[in-house]
């Protein structure tokens, strides 16, 4: 994998509890997504879904580098970002079932997950639409002289949109505290990036706008975290934006019942061998003070929590007709 040369501290140098926390977050997202996929396919969950199995390390690594009062913007593929930023399994599951107890009272749904109290604006489901928005959030912090940072998540597909150019350029010229996080999973929906960009090294774009870009192994949570920490620190210090290109891979369909027939078998196998959970588990076990039993216990606990959330969400209150016309205006 061709990444920007940097040094990531080995897992042995990190605090044990911090690492277990990261592992729990990553597994939480995987288990959540797998459960949601099952509920969707069995027909009990309404709507459509865009899932992030295989990309968990990007959300977790970046959000772990943020403070609680920092913000993120997300996309239509936002379940992982939400869980990584600290939204609860219950408020997400309730939202997916369209219940009034969901994070957006059932009015947002899968593509618009957010919680202003947790520093996550509702997901922007128009490709690249969150990029100028994130720059505007960062402008607000700069005007108020607040040392807050926005991490703006988007996919490789967003780079072709005009909104990318306009938002990134303004963030650059005003040195706004925003970290642009491109989750490059090689596909915009079903189209491979090699078909839509002559230079598919997305981090190169940063230089054109006059700031720093970096390509990172997005399936190595510690590498993502280290890169995000550097980027966030620079942005917070007033040095302007940073573009992080996180190389990753979507294990599941773009949406709904997409069977991913456009992903070549050898490509899938190569990426599956670089699965972020398996790799992180290997790093943790190599330390010597974390056992497979510890990891199994985490997974079992999360499965229970998710199961309880599903049961509760399926009984959660559905909106009434009076809710239809509420919340249009403040």
């Amino acid at each position: 994998m061709n990444t920007t040369p940097t040094t990531t501290p080995p897992a042995s140098t990190y605090d044990r509890q911090f690492l277990l926390g990261l592992y729990e977050r990553i597994v939480l997202i995987r288990e959540f997504e797998e459960r949601v996929k099952f509920l969707f396919l069995e027909g009990t969950m309404p709507g459509t879904i865009h899932q992030c199995q295989g990309q968990e390390a990007t959300a977790v690594g970046v959000c772990a580098a943020l403070r609680a009062d920092d913000w993120i913007t997300s996309t239509f593929r936002g379940h992982g970002h939400a869980l990584a930023k600290g939204l609860s399994v219950q408020e997400l599951m309730d939202e997916l079932f369209g219940a009034t107890t969901g994070c957006c009272k059932g009015k947002g749904g899968s593509m618009h997950m957010g919680n202003m109290a947790r520093g996550m604006v509702p997901g922007i489901a128009i490709v690249a639409g969150g990029i100028p928005l994130a720059a505007g959030m960062a402008l607000a912090f700069k005007l108020r002289r607040q040392p807050q940072v926005v991490a703006c998540f988007f996919g490789d597909g967003a780079v072709a949109e005009g909104a990318f150019h306009e938002g990134v350029n303004m963030a650059a010229i005003w040195n706004l505290p925003v970290v642009f996080v491109c989750e490059n999973n090689l596909y915009g929906a079903s189209t491979h990036i090699e078909k839509v960009m002559k230079n598919s090294r997305i981090s190169d774009r940063a230089a054109a706008y006059g700031f720093r870009g970096e390509t990172v192994d997005g399936n190595d949570v510690l590498a993502v975290h280290a890169a995000a920490q550097r980027a966030v620190a620079e942005s917070r210090a007033g040095q302007g934006p940073v573009l992080l290109e996180l190389l990753t891979y979507r294990r599941t369909g773009h949406s709904r019942r997409d069977a991913c027939h456009y992903q070549p078998k050898d490509e899938r196998e190569a990426w599956f061998a670089r699965d972020p959970i398996t790799r992180f588990a290997e790093q943790l076990l190599a330390r010597g003070d974390i056992s497979q039993t510890d990891l199994d216990a985490i997974k079992a606990r999360l499965e229970q929590r998710i199961q309880a959330a599903v049961v509760q969400a399926q009984q959660a209150p559905q909106p009434t007709l009076t809710d239809l016309t509420e919340d249009v205006f403040a």
Partner: protein, 338 residues
């Protein structure tokens, strides 16, 4: 009291709101360049010196600057964004329609987007792409408030109300109404000056204004057409037809209380709109009238609007395109006789 045009009244209104509330800032193209124009129509002239760092000049990037305004508003700022020509709103419309208008609803009422978007419109000798009447594209978007200002008094009061409102508000202004005197006055400009009080005031965002009372016929218009309707009423008065002229002013929501009260009195209505007839705001108003006070109509609703063509350049064609006073008088005269 002082006599001001719309550009000056807006400038004072913006300055007063920026003084009152430090969350207010302006963002747009060429709005604060030293030695520059103060925006395409001088509205922000001199403000960058008075409010350093708060009159933000952007690249030529309407989508981007609008998204920045939305994001800043979501974080508690109160941006006043503007585009140089309303036509450029098509570039900005993803951020306005998909983000600004919907964010509160799809967040379950937890997000506020207190932003203002100002846009000059109107056919003014600039051909097809700096001329369109844009309000029709936004009046049907739930979550947006849409207003149109035709006098300096309203411009200042509505601007202030919009800044203080917790929702996205679009203010449409007309290029022929900013000022009829001075270097930036447009050929064909109409006097829209008002006596402006010294004290702070606001004009509500959801009320039409009765500009002239009458009992035979109601004429509805906004922006330049409100002035043309008033001029038509003057001529009609000479013929013994007493027209009530209403400046619709609030295009979303539409004030059917004021409009309905007039139609229940006159039973006849002409709606005047600059902009193609098909799909216009006048179509919405006509349907709304049927629902709210259709029983009171003594004759079908009449519309005077532009032809269903792009705005032409040639002055001959542009004048034929845009409704004028004689066409309004003719339509009203015929309706009054039915």
């Amino acid at each position: 009291m002082k006599r001001q045009g719309i550009a000056e009244a807006l400038r004072d209104g913006i300055a007063e709101e920026m003084t009152r509330d430090e969350r207010v800032f302006c963002i747009g193209e060429d709005i604060g360049v030293p030695g520059g124009w103060g925006g395409a129509f001088t509205v922000t002239l001199g403000l960058s010196e008075r409010f350093p760092g708060r009159i933000i000049d952007t690249p030529i990037a309407e989508l981007g600057l609008t998204g920045i305004a939305v994001g800043a508003a979501m974080m508690g700022m109160r941006p006043i964004a503007d585009v140089q020509y309303g036509d450029f709103l098509f570039l900005a419309s993803d951020q306005l329609i998909n983000n600004a208008a919907k964010m509160r609803y799809m967040s379950g009422g937890t997000v506020k987007v207190p932003m203002v978007m100002r846009a000059p419109i109107g056919a003014t000798g600039r051909g097809s792409q700096h001329a369109q009447s844009m309000e029709r594209y936004f009046t049907g978007v739930p979550g947006l408030k849409v207003v149109a200002v035709s006098t300096a008094y309203d411009a200042k009061g509505i601007l202030k109300a919009a800044v203080r409102d917790d929702n996205p508000v679009m203010i449409f202004e007309h290029k022929l109404l900013y000022g009829s005197k001075g270097a930036r006055a447009e050929p064909g400009a109409v006097d829209a000056t008002s006596e402006i009080p010294e004290d702070d005031y606001v004009v509500p965002l959801d009320r039409a204004a009765v500009r002239r009372e009458g009992r035979h016929i109601t004429i509805l218009g906004w922006l330049l057409m409100a002035h043309f309707a008033a001029a038509a009423a003057e001529i009609l008065a000479g013929e013994g037809i007493e027209a009530e002229v209403i400046d619709v002013r609030s295009l979303s929501p539409i004030d059917y209380e004021t409009i309905g009260a007039s139609i229940r009195k006159t039973g006849r209505v002409v709606i005047v709109e600059e902009g193609p007839k098909t799909g216009g705001v006048s179509a919405e108003i006509a349907a709304g009238i049927m629902e709210h006070c259709g029983d009171s109509l003594m004759a079908p609703v009449v519309r005077v609007a532009s032809a269903d063509v792009p705005v032409p350049f040639s002055p001959v064609l542009e004048n034929a395109y845009r409704p004028d006073v004689p066409r309004i008088v003719e339509a009203a005269r015929r309706l009054a006789q039915t």
